[in-house]
Symmetry: C2
Subunit: 397 residues, 2 copies
C-alpha cells in the first residue's frame, strides 16, 4: 500500500509505488528497519530465508541467531512500525520495499557479490517524491565531494551535473553542503529529476539549511533514506548511507576531495560494488583536489575532464562514446617533413628561387620542387616569375 500523498507514480497499477505490496510486509520491514541498525547482512539472510513477515516475528520473539540478536537487542522489544509508517506518510514519504516493482533490483544486486559484510543491501527504503528509482538508477551517476568545496569545485560540479542531466543521466547525491548540493542544483537547473539519499529519517531535512533544496528534489525526483522517521544523522550513518549512493549510481564521480575524505570512502564502496570511479581533476595548488589526484594516480579512479567522459563510462555502450577533444586544424597538417621544412624556409617578405629555398631548408632540388607544388596547391606558397614566397596573410594578425 502506498504511504504518503507524494507517492503518485505512473498510472500503471503494477508500477505504482508499493500499491501491490500487502500492509503486513510494509509493517514487517518498517519494524526490521528500526530494530537492527543497517547494514546487517545476517538480517538480510534471515529475510531471504523466512520472508519479511516471519523474519520480523522471529526477531520479535528472539528466535534468531545470537549474533543477530545481539545486534538488535536495544530496539527489538518495541514495534514502532505503525507509528513510523504514519510519521513517514505525514511527511509525504512511503516505504519502498523489495516486493515493490520500483525496488532497484539490479543496482542492489551488486551487494550480493560484495565481499565486505558492511556492504549489505537495505531492508527497505523510505522514499519521498514521484521518481521511480529503478528507472532513475538505470543511467545514473553518483556525485560526491567535499562539503567545503571551492568555487571551482562548485562550478565544475554544476556544469557536469547539468550536462549529464540534459543527456538523461540521473544525478544521485547526498544533499550535503558543497559538491552534493551543487550536483543536485545542476540537475534541477535543467529540469531533470535528481535523487538525494539522506542519512536521517525521511521526515527530516539535513542539513537544515537545505530544507528547501530537499523539497525541490522531492518535488520532481526522489529523496531516499533507510533510517526511520525521527532519526538524526551521525557520522556512522553517513558512512552507511554512502554505500547506498555507491550502489545506486552506475558510476561514482568525485569532484573535490581532500587528501582524506568521506568521498574517498564512497569511491571505495563504489569500486567494491563494481562501479567505475571517476575523478575530476583540479588545480594542483588546491588542497581539495589532492584526493581526486591521488585516486587517479593510484589507479582507483579514471580522470574525467568533460561530462562526455562520464557519459562514456556510465552511458550506453556505443551510443555515448566520447570523441577526444579535437583542437584546431592547422593548414600545415599532414605535410611530410621535407615539405614542412620547405614551408618553414619560404620567405614572407621576399621571393626566392627554388635552389635558395632548398639550401635554407636542407632539402634537395627534387624535393624542393615537389614540396613547392604541394604547398602551392594548399595555398601555402605563391609563385611569380621563377620565385617563390609565402602568400600574403589573410584575416587577423
Amino acid at each position: 500500500m502506498t504511504v504518503g500523498p507524494a507517492a503518485t507514480g505512473p498510472p500503471d497499477p503494477g508500477a505504482a509505488g508499493g500499491s501491490a505490496v500487502p500492509e503486513e510486509i510494509l509493517r514487517a520491514r518498517a519494524y526490521l528497519l528500526r530494530s537492527v541498525e543497517p547494514p546487517n547482512r545476517r538480517l538480510v539472510r534471515l529475510i531471504e530465508e523466512y520472508g519479511p513477515v516471519e523474519a520480523a516475528d522471529r526477531l520479535r520473539r528472539g528466535a534468531v541467531p545470537d549474533a543477530l540478536l545481539r545486534a538488535a537487542t536495544a530496539r527489538r522489544g518495541t514495534d514502532h512500525s505503525t507509528a513510523d509508517l504514519e510519521a513517514a506518510a505525514a511527511a509525504g514519504a512511503r516505504l519502498l520495499v523489495p516486493e515493490d516493482p520500483q525496488w532497484p533490483v539490479w543496482p542492489f544486486a551488486a551487494f550480493t557479490t560484495a565481499e565486505s559484510g558492511q556492504l549489505a543491501p537495505p531492508v527497505a527504503l523510505w522514499a519521498r517524491g514521484p521518481g521511480d528509482v529503478s528507472v532513475l538508477a538505470d543511467r545514473s551517476v553518483t556525485v560526491v565531494g567535499s562539503r567545503a568545496a571551492t568555487r571551482y569545485g562548485l562550478h565544475a560540479t554544476a556544469e557536469f551535473a547539468s550536462a549529464l542531466a540534459r543527456r538523461g543521466v540521473t544525478v544521485f547525491s547526498g544533499a550535503a553542503f558543497g559538491i552534493d548540493a551543487a550536483a543536485h542544483r545542476g540537475a534541477l537547473a535543467v529540469g531533470a529529476p535528481t535523487v538525494a539519499v539522506l542519512a536521517c529519517g525521511p521526515d527530516r531535512a539535513y542539513p537544515a539549511a537545505h530544507t528547501g533544496l530537499i523539497e525541490r528534489i522531492a518535488a520532481t525526483g526522489l529523496v531516499l533514506s533507510e533510517y526511520p522517521p525521527g532519526t538524526v544523522p551521525g557520522r556512522l550513518r553517513f558512512l552507511v548511507r554512502n554505500r547506498l549512493l555507491a550502489a545506486l549510481g552506475a558510476g561514482c564521480l568525485v569532484v573535490e576531495a581532500g587528501a582524506r575524505s568521506g568521498s574517498r570512502r564512497t569511491a571505495a564502496d563504489s569500486a567494491a560494488l563494481g562501479r567505475p570511479v571517476m575523478a575530476v581533476p583540479g588545480p594542483v595548488t588546491s588542497a581539495l583536489s589532492v584526493g581526486c589526484h591521488e585516486l587517479v594516480r593510484s589507479g582507483q579512479a579514471q580522470l574525467v575532464g568533460r561530462p562526455e567522459d562520464v557519459l562514456e563510462t556510465v552511458g550506453r555502450l556505443g551510443v555515448d562514446l566520447a570523441v577526444p577533444p579535437a583542437g584546431e586544424r592547422r593548414p600545415t597538417d599532414g605535410l611530410a617533413a621535407a615539405t614542412l621544412a620547405v614551408h618553414d624556409a619560404l620567405p614572407a617578405r621576399a621571393a626566392w628561387p627554388p635552389a635558395r629555398i632548398g639550401e635554407a631548408a636542407g632539402v634537395a632540388a627534387d624535393g624542393v620542387r615537389a614540396a613547392l607544388t604541394e604547398l602551392e596547391e594548399r595555398g601555402l606558397a605563391e609563385y611569380h616569375q621563377g620565385l617563390w614566397q609565402r602568400p600574403a596573410r589573410r584575416g587577423g594578425p
Copy 2:
C-alpha cells in the same frame, strides 16, 4: 679540442669538454651537422661505419648511398665547418661530440631502439655553458607545455621546477615563452643549473625576448642546439629539437597543453624513447589543461599532483619514493562501527545512561559498555554518576 671561452669544465683532463677530441673530428662533425638536416638515421649509420672523418669525406665526394645523397645535396658542396666552429666560439659555444666524455651516451642510447626513423640521435651538439650534460641528464626531467600558459600553469611549473631542482633533478626545457621559461626560472630561482635545448643556432637566442634568460641558463647550466650558427628556428626544427628534449630528460612533465599541442608531440617522443610521461592536471574549465587530462585519460601519461610524484618517477628507486598525502588524523580513527555508533549517539549537552545511548545507537548493552570504555580511554566520552556524555570541547569554535 674545446671551442669557446665558456667551456671550462672540471679540472680532470679526461672529463673536460672535448679537450681530448681531435680537431679533425670536430671539423668533420661540424660539417656533417650542417650538410644533412637532422634527424637522419642514414647519416648516423654512415658515421658508425666509417667514423666521422671518413664519413664527412665520403659525403663531400658523394660516395654515400643515394638516399643520403639526396638528403644532403643542397649543402654538402660547401664546407662551413671552420666558420661554424669560429662563429660558435665567438658566441661562447663549443661543439660537443660523441667522442667527448661529456656526451650523454645513455640518454641517447634510447634512439638506437626507437622504431621511428625520425628518432635518430644528433651527430653533435653545440653547447654553451659550464654544465656537463652527461651528468645533468642523470636525474632529470624535461618540462614542456604551452607558450600561452595561464597564471596557474606558470605558477605550478615554477613550483614543480624549484622543488625538483632543490632535490637535485635537472630541469630540461626549450626556453620558449610560457611553461618552458617558468621551468627554467624555477630552477634558476633555487640556484640550480638548468638546460635549454634550442631550435636555432648556438649564436642566437630564440625567442629574442628571452636573450637574458638564455644567458642566465648558459652561465651556470647549459644551452644546447644541433643547428649550426646562424640557423633560424622553424616549425620543423622545433619538432626535431623536441626529440632531444625527450631523450635528455629521464621523464617528461607536461604542465599545460591544449587539446592539440607540440607538447603532446614531445610527450609522444618521450614515450617512444621509453621515458615516463607525466601530466600536471588543472581546472577542467581551462582549455590549456585539456591536453594534460587527455594524456592521463588515454593512459599516455601518469597524473602528477606534487613534485614528489615526479621525483618518484625520475628519481632513484627506493630513495625518492613518494609517500601519499596523509591528511589530518581524526580522534575517531580506527574505531569499530559499533563504537563509532555509540560515539555518534553520545549527547553533548546532556548525560545519558548506557541503555538510552544503546537505544539511540542501535547497539546492544554489552557493546555499549565496551564502546563507552574505549571512548573514555580515548578522551571521547566522559562518565559522571552513572551517566555518559561527550567531553566539553577544547580550543576553537
